[in-house]
Structures are given as C-alpha cells and as structure tokens.
Amino acid sequence: MVNKAAAVHRRKSKWQEPIAASRPFRVFNTLLMILLTLLFLIPFLLVAIASFTPEIEIAAKGFQFFPSELTLYNYKYLFGASDKFVRALFVTIFLTLIGTTNTLFFTSLGAYALSRKYLPYRKGLTFFVYLTMLVSGGLIPSYMVVRNLGMVDTLFALFVPGTIATWNLIIMRNSFMMQPESLEESAKIDGAGDFTIFFRIILPISKPIIATMIVYLAVGYWNEWFAPMLYITRNKDMATMQYLLREIFQSTSQSLSSKQAMTMRADQLPPSQSVKMAAVMVTVVPILCVYPFLQKYFVHGIMIGAIKE
C-alpha cells in the first residue's frame, strides 16, 4: 500500500510515467537517444573542427576529426581579409531585429482584429488572408512589384514584402480567439478602447504565442538568403550572411576578394575549404547560443497551439 501511495505521488508530475517500460527497453531507448544526439551533433562538430584546421591539411587529408594542427587563420582571414563578412553579419543582425519587430507588430495587430468575433466582414477578411497562402504570383511578378516600389537593392526589399506572415497570423488569430471573452467585456465596461485592450490585456496574456512567433520569425530572417539573391544585385552591402555563405561556397576567392585578403595570404594557397567551414560556424554559433534559452517559449507556444480546449 505504501508503494502505491508513492507511485501515485510520482505520477502527479507531468513527465513521469505511472509504470515504466521494461528495463531492457529503457536501456535500449537511452542508447538510442544517445546515438541520435550524436547524429545531430556530429556534423556540426566536424565543421567546427574543420574551421580550425589549416587549408593545406584539409586539401591533403580531407575533413577530419583529429587534425594534427589547429589554427585561427581561417577566422582571421574571414574577418580581417574582407569587411564583406563583417558587414553581412551586421546586416543580418539588423535585418533580424527590424524584420521580426515589423512583422510581429503588424501581423499581431491584424490577427487581433480578425479574432474579434463580432467584427463585420470578418469571415471575408479571414478568407482574404487565407487565400494568399494558397495562390501566389510567383517570382517575376513579385520582383516587378518590389522594383516598382523602388526597393530593389535596399534593405526594405528584404523585410517589407514579408510584413504580414499569413500562417503566423492565422495561428495568432486562433490563439487570441481562445482568450476568454470576459476579459474584453470587463475592459470595455471600464471604457478601454480596442488598442488599449490589445496592448494591455491580450498581449501580456499571449506571451507564449508571441514568444513562439518571435522565434519563428527571427530564425526565418536570420537564415534569409533567397530575397537577397533576388533583389540585391549592385549594392553588395546589403548581402545577408546566409547569402554570402552561399556565394563563398561557389567561389571563395571571388566572394571575399579584397586588398587585405591579398596581403593576408601568407601561405600562397588561397584558403577556400577551411574558410567555407569557418563561415558556416559564424552563421551557426549565434543560433546555437541563443535558441536553448528560448526553448521554453516555443515549446510552450506550440503546446498551447496544439491543445484545443
């Protein structure tokens, strides 16, 4: 009996099973999890090590886990040789901040408005939004629109077309719809206007879903490479890191050519393989450092979205 009480007590916590699976299975499961974790990590580890490996060694022996020599040369080359990379880094950071804020602001506003069940023409408007997910104009018409607005070769082209993220709008709308109506009613009685209700009441409650959206959007903007490829031709200053990374993979010397690069090439062998890996690391490490701390939010947000009361 005592055991049963203890078992019941354990069961109360959400993540523990009442009866565990058989021991052999649990051992197998743990091993499997370790294996999977390694599978997730090993490619990154390889690239990380390669980024510290001198070019000549990669050229001779390929990418390896235990090079005979480690060096910081690749990173020095990347940052010192050409200001292109550093500039791309700043552009990407800036774009992520501006883009996420911009999209979040307007999308959440629209989502809130469409979540009010009493809004006339709501169904029509929602369909208006939803339809854009199904049909699209395609590449060239979109390019022409951006061009006619004069945004080609500016930073605007990279985030303004994405101001409204329709999928996120729908999710946020559903999430707002789930908030109890009593909140709004009592606020209205107190004389609050729509904007006040949104910013002061609904938003603070919706922190999980907003946090989830921030994560989605920020990751999207950080990894953006297609928009620069399409819209940025002349103004190389507007290249994002992922786009520069892609160019580096096609031709390192052309992408990073500069006076400093020429003076830096002490060993005469223009570094390409190792610098590619170093560039990858620079794009990945910030994400690596940030996302574990945001985990709480997006996990929670997805859960909220998944569970329909």
Binding site: A59, N102, T196, F199, M229, L230, T233, M262
Partner: protein, 524 residues
Amino acid sequence: MSIGKRFGALLMCCTIVLTLFAGCGSGDNPQPQSSQFSSSTQSPETDTPAQPLEKKGPIVVFHPFPYNNVEEDWLKVQAALEEAMADNIALTFDFIVVPTDGMLEKLNVMLAGGEQLDLVVLNPGDADKYMTTPDLMMPLNDLLNEYGKDLLENIPEEAWIRCTNSKGEIMYLPAYRQWRWQGCAIREDLLEEQGLPIPTNIAELENVMETFKNAYPDMIPAIGLPWFSDPFLQGSQDSVASWMTDYALDADGNVVPSRTLPEYKKMIALYKKWVENGWYDAEYMSGNDESHALLWNTGRIGIWFCDPHRALDWNYDSFKQNFPDGKGTFLPIPTNEAGVKKFPISYGVGRVVWIKKDSQYGAEIVQYFNKLMTDPDFYMLATNGVEGEHWVDLGDEWALPEGVSSDKRPYSNLLAILSWEFRDNLKPARRTPRPEVDWVNDALNAEYASAELILTGLEGFMPDQEPVAQYNPIDLDTYLPQVIVTDVSIDEFDNVIQQWYDTGGREIVAEYTRQYNEWLEANK
C-alpha cells in the same frame, strides 16, 4: 504613457533608424538615369584648349568576371579612364560586377525587371542565348562603320563571323586572343619519375593515367570540365562533335546539335572507359576552376584538362609553394590514328560584349572600344591600372610593384573588357621576365597553330532560334554526363539522342536545316 503610445514611439524610432540605414545603403548608387548634363564633381583637366565635353552617362555595364579585382581599385582606374576620355568621348561608367557563378540569373532578373543596362559582357555561348530575344541587342554595323573603323580593320575576319547573325548583322564586339584556351596540363615531374615520355596520343595518355593510378593512390589521375576536354580530345577521334561546338551537319545535310551526331558516341565512350577504369574523376561536373585549382596545387591530380595558363602560369606560385621540385607542362594535342593533330576552329573569341538596343550611348561605347584599340596609353590604363599604383614604368618595360605577384593583383583587365593580343602598336608591354611562366603562351600558340582545323561546314551561319522557342527537348547537358558516370551501358547514348529527337528535337532540326538551305541559297 499607454502601451499603445509607447509602441507608436518605438515604431517611429525604428522607421527613422531604418530610413537612415537604407538611405546610406543606397546612397552609393549613382542615379541610374541618363543624364546629358555634366556632373558637378568631375573637373576634367585636359591638355587641349578645347572645352571639356559634357559628361555622358553613366552607362551601366554588366560584368560577370570579377576575378580578384578589388572594388576600391577599379573605381580608381575608372575615374582615371573617365578623365582621360573627358575631352573626346566623355563617357562615365557604372559597373555592375557580379560573381561568375549565377551570372545569368542575375542578368535575367535585371532584364526582366526592366533595369537600365547599356553594355553586357558575356561568353559567346551565353551571349547566343540572348541573340534571339527580339529588340534586345543593338546591331552594330552602322556604328562600327562610323566610329569603329579601327576595330573593323584590326580584328580578324574570323572573330567577326562569330559575332554576326544569319541576317548579316554584327551583334557583338569580340575580344580576340591568339592563344587557345582549351588544353591539358600534366605533372611533368611525375612523368619523369615514372620514366614515361609525354603522351602524344590517346593510347599513351591512357597508359600514363594507369601508371599514375597505380603509383600514386592518393591522387586522381585526371580531372577536367567538358568544355576544356572535349575540344582537346575530339581531334584524336576525328570527331566534329564536342561540347563547345553547337551545331554541325550530319550525314544527310541536316543542321543538328553536334553532340547528337553518332560520332559523339565515341567521345562519350572514351570518357566512360576512363571513369570505369578509375582514371577520370566521376564527379568532374560538380567542381569548378577554383576547386580543381586547389586539387592541382595540392598534388591531388596529375592530369588537368583546363586552360593551361591556369595551371602553369596563374597558379604557378601556389603550386611551387607546395611542390618546390614540381614541374608542370601542357600536353600536345593528341593525334588521331593517322598521326595527325586536329583542333576545332577557335576564333579566339573568348568573350564578347553586346549593347542593349535601347541604350542611348551606343556611339560612345563603340568609340570607347575604338579608343582602346588605337590609344596605347589608354589601353595600358584600362588593362593594368594606374601607373605608380598598380604598375611601375621601367622605360622599355613595365613591372608589378614590389610585393605584388601576378595572382594577387588588386586590379587587372576589368575595365578593358575586351583584349586583343595580336596588337603590335602597344608600348612594349612586357613585364619583368619570368622565364618559368613566360614560355607558356608562345609555346601554346605554336602547338595549336600546328594542328589541322576541324571545320563543321557551318562557318558563317547562325541559326535563328526564335521560330523554335516553343520546343523544349531534353537537356543534353543533363543526360549525356549521366551516360558517362552511371552504370548504364554506352548504348544508352542512342536512347538519349532518340529521346531528344522525340521531344522536339526533330522540329528544331527541320527548322534549322531549312534556314541553312535558305542561307546557302542567299550566299551563293
């Protein structure tokens, strides 16, 4: 302050910051509108007492061959050129320099978006793709007759033929170089180590590859891209078909893509044999000049189908760094069974420029190239850069400044765009001799001049692609390499060609043949 107001303030701040940022981002671009009025920043100094002309332009130049040119340097050269031209042509430039990979996409996006473009620099093969777009290119006959007489006189006829369409309109201005750029480099030191002579035909070459494979297991015996290897090898197979030859006549007198001829099967079979024997890297198509250069410089390949200059001259220093005792040389053209060397006709046109039809500066552009042709100092400036900074005048010769080696030049050739090597009116433009690489050019010229020309019979004829634009047969570039590198039998080649015919090729051939016969009639 309510949250609403706070948000509003934040938004305003962001907008302001953004505008500033975007403003300075796009501030570098000169106004892409044609301006007939002088720009206030330029103050041309001229020797002549004549009034400086109003600045024209800027003309927008699409240039996808940056090599290692550094922006700040070419802007300096550009300013010097504009100054030098100020008193007679008065052209100003706006260069759009993009990486070579993905250049066509960038160009297409610009064309589709209606961006202003005046001059486009391309390989002749790529330029041909745009030849048939209506109202895109400006025919240059009249302009050349008026402003480009020197160009017409000095550039050989064969180069102009390459640039002329079937209606007799000259559509491109060509570069022209005597040296052939499709060849093969080999590690001579490894040959000597193995006691082998330089191979002169296919059988000997294969023997070398087999020896390399066995003696050097860490090395891939041979690698290359088909636009280098096909022309180099086709003579040995008596084949008129190659990756670089667009059209040829088949046995029935039809105009067909050269690679659909049955004799191309021999070439494919050759490569296939090499891949199967482990002599030729199966992944050759996924590399590029840069990645192959790395392999050469680190001793991972013994035979490299490429522009021999790349292996023996431009990469000389990097190679020597790793292999001080290493030695490279170029292979002679392999002979056919009768012992004859053959090489396809190469107009020596490696690059062309075309002028967009709606450009307002066609005359000035032709004048610019004409001046390059006639004015040695101007050409020197455009090719080598600013004197004192990019090169040093040594009286009879010129040399690179201290500490700058030939593969680390921050500026070379970009604004010259077209180069003509046959010219003898230039100031002796010989740099300080580097015997270890200077021999390459003349030796290559001599070698290729000694070969018999392979002619397709279609010289002077350019098919007009517009009537058949609706037909989209399978892409030979996709399917033919598969026959080489995958496990299928060589007879798959016949299936591929048959498929090509069945999916629209037949109609294309019929149309081109009809055009050809018309052209024959007209030019009797």
